[in-house]
Symmetry: C2
Subunit: 874 residues, 2 copies
């Protein structure tokens, strides 16, 4: 039985998106709604998949089916391919299941050749138009189907203009264009070695193959990765009778949104060009007119268009993004789809649609894209200023927002100059020593490192914008200037970076702050909180972060990294003293100096959080992170600490590890140096006692032991914690509850979670490390080979950004099941980077975790994503 | 209901080893066989466990039970603790479930005090003996129970001898010894702050606690780790009426084996001392006489002893290791157990027991310790070299084999220098503190001690050669040199010792491989091959290794590491050229240079293996391993390669990784540089075609892709391999089969083994990396913290030596199940270090793997262990 690979527009429906692609399904829907849509048919996404299964060829079965639908189209339109009287011209457009604007390729005027052009010239009495159509088709087809570069064609046009002594395309005559068409065909033959196809059917099959092929071009792959579209979906192809917006002053073409996609305002938004073909609007060669001008220019068409806008918004119950063409006064709809919108517009449209009674709250929540939602929290560049700004280079959009400041190349300078005005910190890559500088900066720009690099993680955590891994960036050896694409910027000079797009600019671009008090944000967050099942906590290391987290709706802290507190100037000395200690006694003395600092940190956090839960993780990183590494730094520190250079150097060398990620860190520190856990527990509990006495709030610290791989290891460290804590509580004269739990971040812990749960009151999945160990990918090093994995379609996403459900997820599910078997009421959270990623949050919802924890600025995203997960999986 | 924690000897049996410990169970068995055993009782291993559960105290319930059994013993012997007429003296000895010679502590003469000593002096008319017993007891008790160092007591004895103007202990009079006893008690009080316990019951309870405590002393922990004894077992305590071998010339004490533990010869083997207490024989202070001399000295006791030996061998159906004491002509058995033996003796005894009809072949196989079995493969001195070598002195041939190394005089130095080359440990006598040094040495040489001394027992157990009791050996007071027959050897200089003959040589003597064609080895290996289910392959990278593997019984090669071939002088240049290549073309040119080398490697291996399977792993390590790292080396190489220093330095720096173990290596190399896999496949297949044409053997290469974490990754590399291979085979004009499989060494691959199995024809578990990722332990770095894990009993074994069944094993079992679901006939092997470890081999058997692969010298061990696994798990 033969499979149906082609559908006429009136055979489809909006619901058939998976098969017909978004464009095809919507053309079908508009056709069935009786709207004016040029006739045509859609070749399905399954045909695309089949094309790849067949080794990138269109099977003869599919070709036959296409040609039979073409014959039918010829019958319906009364036109014929290559006909001397009434030639059929068609457009060929891709249309994937999800909208991929600008990604796939379009060919207009297909069916034209020298004979047909002449027929049209005569029939329309407009030879210039006929030959313009012709040369455009050759140009587009060559570019899209045969990948003959555009530039050669542009050069030929320029040469022709020079020869004719004119400057504008429109000044070329019909004969000029006819001659250009011949030159184009010659160019095509020179480049491809073949004659330009004359037979419209050959043109059609070439174009269909090209659309299928373009599904796997580089831009498409990158876009899919960025937007989480599986490569297995494939694209459909739409073949549609051409209508012409360039047949004079009663013709035109345009694009419009039913609401404003930047602001969400309920007002038709768009633009059109009189006497133009589709691509002219997008290409930006002529400046189009705003859509409401159409009411003056072609009032009937405008009235019809607004009528259709209403019909489409009612049908789709969402803002529509439409393309239309007017041919000699008659309006044709070429496309409609749910329009892309800025996060702010998404908020307003969602609220308006609920207010208008069009959508329920839950439906409205699903209209907001969680992946880009946190942009509503970040300052953005003024849209007006961006229009005239030049992008000098691009990096990875590592942390969203806009940053503009004077550049400095080390943390110290950045901190110093931040007092005088905004600064940008520019580094090859960042390390924990740079923290102060990073926090002081408006933005961080690095030459190396991916979306999970130190710079990116810290920046997202702090809500600072960051563009990372800009390979065009070269920092001068003296560390006082940079060059980027041949331009030099000296320290103190201004640059601007856009963490949402990855764009980099030289000079100042003004930014505007978001207003979170506005009603839409609060309203939508309220709906999300009603809908979600998952709790949402934040990762916060300071009272300031904690306060920001609470402001943004966090219900607790899921991760306080105690080590971040140790890098401050006044503490790093004591921690270094601890590290160079030779005896347990010396270590205790040094730790005693740290105790008051650490206790104060927790006092500050408890005062903010009060009876909201706070999970505090014991010291995690390897100790060498706290020591300097160059000989000069070691020499300076040795002098400060009254040690010999050799002795300190020996300590530093002794702490060096081949694979520090799997080295002496996490719970392995208190196994070897129990004093560390004693001091940290003391700080945690003493602070809790103090704030409980002070405020009366029911402080219940959650003490989290990292990097556990074995229950006896957990028990060993837990015994240190409980014996220390219980004594302090007994001496305090008040009651204080606390919990001891563990990170599940080592595969063995996940595999033996039942045993671990006998000692752990809660699990927090550390999916950063768990992903590293499960894949055997070092986060720092994988950036070197992951691009090849994307190019070869081995991986579609960065597993450090989006939780890998099949592998890492299997371990998480296993842990949840085993952990609950042993301890049915065990609290389960996630505190890796994935805690702020919508797809990963959905996984957490499906797996039945108790909460997700993410950086404070991701909290609103997490609340929204958790709600969407609950609604989508009811 | 009260639990029974104490058993009289006649309440026990040999089968109750778990409860009564080995010593207690065998004392019970001997008692029940009607053999002359001094009466007594055993405190169970459960009492020891209880002791630890109760926070290291003996509960009053257990104490009461002990005292009631003591009362019963008093009744039965007619003697009483502290009695003025007939005082009871007892020995207190530990006895764990598994024999732990020299590990646990013994106290003799317990029950003595000043009054009792005086009673004994008067009753026996031998005051010197009475006070010698007394001072020995104080000394032993102080050392064992209160850990007052031995040295102080030795100093007091020396001072007494000096004061008396004598040189030998035996020259001290009864009064001298009485005075010494008082001095000892003073020393005890000075060190402990307490009076030495006078009450025998206090002494008993102190001694029982000390035995329990000693279960967790450092030596015991090390021994358990080395011998795979769980710390949860605990030790029993045996309390037994004293008999005295030091009551004159018709008394004596000795140890003997029913067969020769070095050679396995069926002939009584052992030694005794007249007029001595047990410890004197073991301590090696006086040199004992061979056991057959006893026939002359005390013929009746000897006859009785040989009769008992026969009874015991029949009962236990194995060689027995016994202790006895003769008190005034009457023989008492103090212990019997299955004797430790050298691997060669184990072979002979196994074969003899089968020949004698005592054991079946399968039973006999179980008598051989697989853990030390590979010592039968250990080298012996070259007979030619021996002809011209001068024997400088002779000692006892305590443990066979040839040892040659730089001499060091303490364990610490031996361990330290063992890293640089072979070492010999030279000691006056060894004690359990020396264990680490003994295990690190090629051989052990002692000045004192017989064939049953600590040095001899440990060395035989570990398969290390040992010459003991060389009285010509004098170690300098500063412990940095020795003199032997007038010649001086300084630390670091070489000596050679022959544990089979007892000969000692100065300087190096070359060693030769043992002759494995001899009958016992071949016979036992044949039985093992009949019994085992698992296949045994070897890891071999060269034709030489492959030949050795086949000689030792390997049925194929489970792992050929292709990278090892790249380090040779003539190849490293080409691989470096490949690494610095900037384009795919340059890379191909460099790889073309490597191709002939790599092809020759495989030709050599196939010629050895013929139709035995050969698994070849594609390039695995990160590329930076092939580059130099210091600036000087880089400069030299840059000059050689006509590169600038800066450019090569940049390449080296660019390849640097934070965590290379999880970096750009394994299959990640061909994903980024497919040319590498093309070249390697070409070498593998061309070599196979060549050798197949040449020999007609059915060569079927198994191409193994390492470090897979995802099936698409495997498919990508497999496609490169198969397209390359299929073309070469098609062009060759012959048929050649080959298989493509993968390592399972990344947790994700194990979790998704069903998907992976759709592309992999075989799995080989790379349990080295799998252990690293599953635990999150870097093998290079874990050495720093693993000791703390052993000390704190978090881990009992090095998971890199013994496969962790609960965590890593769970992943392996999961993979096996998932893999077989998809591909029921999938071939499953293991090629990590664990492939040669008996416990891990048992796991592989239980999990149903097809084969294990280990280093060539471990092949016999693997064959034996595989057989034992099959027999034990029938």
């Amino acid at each position: 039985m033969s499979h149906k690979f082609v559908y006429k527009f009136d055979e489809g429906a909006a619901e058939m998106k998976n098969l017909l692609g978004g464009k095809g399904a919507n053309l079908a829907e508009m056709t069935n709604l009786g709207l004016p849509v040029p006739q045509g048919f859609t070749i399905t996404t399954e045909a695309c998949t089949q094309y790849y299964d067949d080794g990138e060829t269109v099977s003869s079965e599919i070709e036959a089916e296409i040609l039979s639908y073409l014959a039918d189209l010829e019958t319906r339109t009364g036109k014929k391919f290559g006909d001397r009287d009434n030639p059929l011209l068609v457009s060929v457009r891709s249309g994937a299941r999800a909208s991929m604007p600008g990604m796939m390729d379009t060919i207009l005027n297909l069916g034209i050749n020298a004979d047909v052009a002449e027929v049209i010239a005569q029939k329309t009495g407009n030879p210039r138009w006929a030959y313009d159509c012709y040369r455009r088709f050759i140009q587009m087809y060559s570019d899209v189907v045969m990948e003959v570069g555009k530039k050669n064609f542009e050069d030929l046009i320029t040469a022709m203009k020079t020869a004719r002594g004119v400057t504008q395309d429109v000044e070329l005559t019909a004969d000029d264009l006819k001659e250009l068409a011949e030159q184009f065909k010659g160019e095509y033959k020179a480049k491809t070695g073949e004659e330009f196809p004359v037979n419209p059917r050959d043109q059609l099959m070439g174009a269909v193959s090209a659309v299928f092929r373009s599904w796997n071009n580089e831009r498409a792959i990158i876009y899919r990765r960025q937007n989480d579209i599986p490569s297995s979906w494939g694209t459909a192809v739409n073949v549609q009778e051409m209508v012409f917006g360039n047949r004079g002053d009663t013709s035109g073409t345009g694009v419009a949104f039913t609401r404003n996609p930047s602001t969400g305002e309920r007002k038709l938004f768009g633009e059109f060009l009189v006497n133009a073909q589709g691509e002219d609007v997008v290409a930006g060669i002529r400046t189009p007119q705003p859509i409401d001008k159409l009411a003056e220019v072609l009032p009937e068409a405008y009235t019809e268009f607004t009528r259709i806008c209403d019909i489409l918004e009612k049908r789709y119950r969402d803002m529509q993004d439409m393309e239309f063409t007017i041919e000699e006064g008659k309006l044709y709809m070429l496309q409609t789809r749910n329009g892309k919108r800025t996060p702010n517009a998404a908020l307003k449209i969602a609220v308006d649609l609920v207010d208008e009674g069009v959508r329920t709250r839950e439906e409205a929540l699903l209209l907001i894209d969680a992946n880009s939602f946190d942009a509503v929290l970040h300052p953005v560049f003024s849209p007006d200023a961006l229009k005239t700004a030049t992008v000098v280079a691009k990096g990875l959009n590592a942390s969203p927002g806009a940053g503009c400041g004077a550049v400095y190349f080390n943390a110290e300078d950045a901190v110093k100059h931040a007092a005088d005005g905004p600064v940008l910190l520019v580094r090859l890559e960042t390390s924990p020593e740079d923290l102060a500088g990073m926090y002081a900066a408006q933005g961080i720009l690095t030459a190396r490192g991916g979306a999970s690099s130190h710079a990116a993680v810290v920046a997202r955590g702090a809500g600072i914008c960051c563009v990372s891994g800009c390979s065009d960036l070269v920092i001068a050896a003296d560390g006082h200037s940079l060059t980027i694409k041949g331009q030099t910027v000296r320290e103190g000079e201004f640059m601007s970076i856009d963490g949402t797009t990855g764009n980099i600019y030289i000079g100042k671009i003004p930014t505007v702050e978001p207003d979170l008090t506005r009603g839409d944000f609060a309203k939508v967050m309220g709906w999300a909180d009603d809908a979600r099942v998952l709790g949402v906590r934040a990762n916060a290391d300071t009272p300031k972060d904690a306060a920001k987290a609470v402001e943004l709706g966090a219900e607790g802290i899921g991760l306080t990294r105690t080590e971040h507190m140790f890098f401050a100037e006044d503490r790093i000395r004591a921690i270094r003293e601890m590290i160079v200690s030779k005896t347990s006694e010396q270590r205790k003395t040094a730790l005693d100096k740290l105790l008051p600092f650490q206790r104060d940190d927790f006092v500050g956090i408890y005062r903010v959080m009060l009876d909201k839960p706070v999970t505090i993780r014991l010291l995690d990183p390897p100790l060498h992170e706290f020591l300097p590494h160059t000989d000069d730094e070691i020499r300076t520190l040795a002098a400060e600490m009254s040690l010999t250079f050799e002795s300190l150097k020996a300590t530093v060398t002794g702490l060096h590890e081949a694979n520090p990620m799997m080295g002496h860190r996490g719970c392995r520190l208190p196994v070897t140096y129990p004093e560390i856990a004693v001091m940290q527990t003391q700080a945690i509990i003493e602070a809790a006692i103090l704030v409980k006495k002070e405020t009366g709030a029911d402080i219940v610290p959650e003490i989290m032991i990292p990097l556990i791989c074995e229950v006896k290891e957990l028990k060993f460290v837990k015994d240190i914690v409980t014996s220390t804590a219980d004594k302090l509580i007994a001496d305090s004269g008040i009651t204080l509850n606390y919990h001891v739990g563990t990170m599940i971040e080592i595969p063995r812990a996940a595999l033996l979670a039942d045993e671990i749960a006998t000692e752990a009151e809660f699990f927090s999945f550390g999916t950063n490390d768990l992903t590293q160990m499960t894949f055997g990918f070092s986060r720092d090093d994988a950036v070197k080979f992951l691009p090849a994995y994307y190019d070869n379609k081995i991986l579609e996403n960065d597993p450090f950004q989006r939780l890998d459900r099949s592998g890492v997820g299997k371990l998480v599910e296993m842990s949840v099941k085993l952990g609950r078997q042993m301890r049915p009421d065990i609290k389960l959270g996630i505190c890796g980077e994935h805690g702020g990623d919508p797809s990963s949050i959905e996984f957490c919802h499906l797996t039945g975790l108790t909460y997700v924890s993410c950086s404070p600025f991701r909290v609103p995203t997490a609340r929204l994503a958790a709600a969407q997960a609950a609604i989508n999986n009811k």
